[in-house]
């Protein structure tokens, strides 16, 4: 093998380890995906993300057009611009997917999330929790003498901030819906 000018067993490269580092920063994007409301459609979307190694930060899904059998999936995902473009192209390729919109780049949009937080506590802490809830415009949806369940809506940041404040005051459980998002302004020409 001397003619090959390669030392035997010298290469550490695997053929599969060829991806160059584009060195770009990760970005977080919110995607709105309109899909056929049929069995397995969510599995197709999630399977795409797990199969190709993409991230899902948050995901919400519900039927939005009963007659047209359409559901809207809102996905918050993180990746380099190249990965984000791939995610959109790969989503668009799924036969059940009608439309893919990147709300992060298609003009401004509003994002909201709903969360329920259970806060256990007595005395001063309980009063403080209620006061903070008022500031954040969170509603009390359940109450016992030793606990509250607050309902808060807002951006994920606002929910995070509220949860951080509640933690020392006895936050014991939290349930979040994930982000729902719409573009601002009049009807999107594409919708």
């Amino acid at each position: 093998m001397s003619a090959l000018k390669i030392k035997k067993g010298s290469s550490k490269h695997s053929a599969y380890n060829l991806r160059s580092n584009f060195g770009e920063e990760s970005e977080t994007h919110t995607l709105a995906v309109l899909v056929d409301n049929e069995a397995g459609v969510l599995a197709r979307v999630i399977g795409l993300f797990s199969g190709r190694g993409y991230n899902i930060d948050s995901l919400t899904v519900a039927e939005v057009d009963h007659q047209g059998h359409l559901s809207r999936i809102t996905i918050v995902t993180t990746g380099t611009p190249q990965v984000i473009e791939q995610i959109k192209a790969q989503l668009g390729r799924i036969v059940s997917v009608h439309e893919v919109h990147d709300l992060t780049v298609e003009g401004s949009s509003v994002e909201r999330e709903l969360a329920l937080l259970k806060v256990d506590g007595k005395g001063e802490k309980r009063v403080e929790a209620l006061r903070l809830a008022d500031i954040f415009r969170a509603n009390v949806v359940d109450s016992t003498l030793k606990s509250f369940v607050f309902q808060i809506t807002g951006t994920p940041d606002k929910v995070d901030a509220f949860a951080d404040l509640m933690r020392p005051l006895g936050l014991s459980e939290i349930a979040r819906t994930g982000v729902a998002a719409l573009s601002r302004g009049g009807t999107d020409p594409e919708e």
Binding site: M1, A3, L4, I6, K8, G9, S11, H13, S14, A15, Y16, N17, L18, R19, S20, D36, A39, G40, A43, R44, G47, G51, Q82, E85, Q86, A89, Q90, G92, R93, I94, V95, S96, H98
Partner: protein, 576 residues
């Protein structure tokens, strides 16, 4: 109902294997004569045969198998078809709807298992939807970038009756991939064509999938511009190997001149290829100084691994037609002086004669065997070549010449050993009079050897040309080059006597061990009207060159033993 829908779709051949959950459909198949059912010996073979049929005809291949193991055995074939964009429609039986989820006998979550390895799949829960879904399935399999689809049909849905939906009323409107390319982008490419100094066409399987007109337009474009052209493994035949602008295949085992031209070009025009890792080698050193254009029907192929400057989303035939029209309207310009000196550079690279190998009078060199096969069969316009996967596959791509599209069937993306033999059966079914040869390695061939039964039963004269080196040749080569010659489990122990094996199946076996007997033996194989296993014992340690070692760019090719001038006598040098 199923059979009626298949007839409406113009299906004449179905590859399948019956089982409990699919018996009602088989009962329908029994009571008609329009559709021919080919009984394979394993469901994987059914899917590969359908792939071979699809690639040889351009029509979707159809498979009918049962639930559970029938469906899971089809998974490899489905994945293969997905990777190579081959239109396949697989119908699977399923346990009755009321038993789904109960772990019933031969139950598997078929749509769940096949979701990532199909373009789309359906579980039919209502007989009224069945014909519509089958029509949709054919539409999805063939529209846009082709691919495999699967329709899972529970047994009670098969038994029930409902009103038939004709093909024309099927709901296929929603899935309509765009075929026309953006005119501004095409014009941008025309401008690039006009000024390019070192251009190259890099074409792929997309040209074949787009149909014969795409290949014709490609030939016209190459002839008009006089640019050099190379192709991926999947795209061989779109431009004829005898064409004067042909550089040969590119990639890991591609030709030296093709790879160096890719590395040094200033304009790369990718037509229906996907910058696969076997093509690009190390990405950060891939053709560093070129502008790149990419024509592809699948938006997700654009910028997936390589950033391109001129992306054009559309069907190849449509785009090439527009491209030619715009280029002609603007005065048919190219930078012909620069292209001429580019060609003289390419001629320099060709002088390396990268396919030379050290010939032998004692043992059959696999390259030599293929050169003789080429010489003795190239006059046959109806010659179809299938391959398995490994060294023999790369040698076949290097040493055989492909003049027309749809005459070359090989497992490219998935690299499925065991693909070639059943594929050759599918090709022969599509073209009963044609010469169908499966160039195989002994290890790959054994993976689906049960299909000998199919070949003999249907009197399919497929020629199994086995380059037998008693090794997993490509694995052995990598172990030699990259793993310190530690040949871990890469030899074939206890091989069968292939001549006796052929006879046991009722076919003909030919053993060839001497280079001097090779021509006569090949002629004997060609003359025999029936399936033949040709056991060609070849040099055991031959390596496949040229080769781009993994992790290296195009201009760091290994040319192999034969390239060093002193090791090769002038009389013995063999050139292709």
């Amino acid at each position: 109902m199923v059979v009626q829908a298949l007839k409406d779709q113009g299906v004449d051949t179905v590859f399948g294997y019956p089982g409990g959950a699919v018996l009602p459909i088989y009962d329908e198949v029994f009571q008609q004569n329009d559709i021919r059912h080919i009984l394979v010996r394993h469901e994987q073979g059914a899917v590969h045969a359908a792939e071979g049929y699809a690639r040889a005809t351009g029509k979707p291949g159809v498979v009918l198998v049962t639930s559970g193991p029938g469906a899971t055995n089809a998974v490899t074939g489905l994945t293969d078809a997905l990777m190579d964009s081959i239109p396949i429609v697989v119908l699977t039986g399923q346990v009755p709807t009321f038993m789904i989820g109960s772990d019933a006998f031969q139950e598997a979550d078929t749509v769940g298992i096949t979701r990532p390895c199909t373009k789309h799949n359906w579980l039919v829960k209502d007989t009224a939807e069945l014909p519509d879904i089958i029509h949709q399935a054919f539409h999805v399999a063939t529209a846009g970038r082709p691919g495999p689809v699967l329709v899972d049909i529970p047994k009670d849905v098969q038994f029930a009756s409902a009103e038939y939906t004709p093909k024309t009323k099927a709901k296929t409107n929603h899935y309509q991939p765009r075929t026309k390319g953006d005119r501004d982008q095409i014009t941008a490419l025309v401008e690039a064509l006009e000024t390019a100094e070192r251009p190259i066409f890099y074409t792929g399987g997309g040209v074949i999938n787009s149909g014969n007109s795409a290949s014709q337009l490609l030939r016209e474009l190459v002839e008009a511009t006089q640019f050099p052209i190379t192709s991926t493994l999947m795209g061989l035949g779109a431009y004829p190997a005898s064409g004067k602008n042909w550089l040969g295949m590119l990639g890991m085992h591609g030709l030296y001149e093709a790879n160096l031209a890719m590395h040094d070009c200033d304009l790369m025009i990718n037509i229906g290829a996907r910058f696969d890792d076997r093509i690009t080698g190390r990405l950060d050193a891939f053709s560093p100084n070129s502008r790149k254009a990419h024509i592809d029907i699948d938006p997700s192929s654009i910028n997936k691994v390589i950033h391109v400057d001129i992306p054009i989303i559309g069907d190849i035939a449509h785009v090439l037609e527009d491209l030619l029209n715009i280029w002609k309207a603007r005065g048919r310009k190219t930078n012909s002086a620069a292209v001429k000196s580019w060609w003289s550079q390419i001629e320099e690279w060709k002088k390396v004669r990268c396919l030379d190998f050290q010939p032998s009078k004692k043992t059959i060199k696999p390259q030599h065997a293929l050169m003789r096969l080429e010489e003795l069969t190239k006059h046959r316009k109806d010659r179809f070549i299938c391959t398995e996967v490994g060294q023999h596959q790369m040698w076949a791509a290097q040493y055989l010449g492909f003049e027309d599209p749809n005459h070359w069937m090989t497992s490219g993306g998935l690299g499925t050993m065991g693909y070639g033999f059943p594929a050759s059966i599918g090709v022969q079914m599509a073209h009963p009079e044609a010469l169908v040869i499966n160039v195989a390695g002994e290890a790959s061939w054994l993976m689906n050897m049960q299909e000998m039964g199919t070949a003999v039963q249907y009197r399919l004269p497929v020629k199994q040309f086995i380059l037998n080196n008693e090794r997993l040749g490509m694995v052995r080569q990598w172990q030699e080059l990259l793993h310190g010659e530690r040949y871990s489990h890469s030899w074939s122990e206890a091989l069968p006597d292939f001549v006796k094996l052929a006879e046991a199946f009722g076919a003909k076996g030919i053993l060839c061990t001497d280079p001097n007997d090779l021509d006569d033996a090949i002629m004997e194989m060609l003359a025999y009207d029936g399936p033949v296993i040709f056991d060609c014992l070849v040099e055991k340690h031959e390596n496949c060159f040229p080769m781009i070692p993994s992790g290296e760019p195009h201009n760091k090719m290994l040319l192999g033993e034969a390239s060093t001038k002193d090791t090769i006598g002038s009389s013995g040098a063999v050139m292709v």
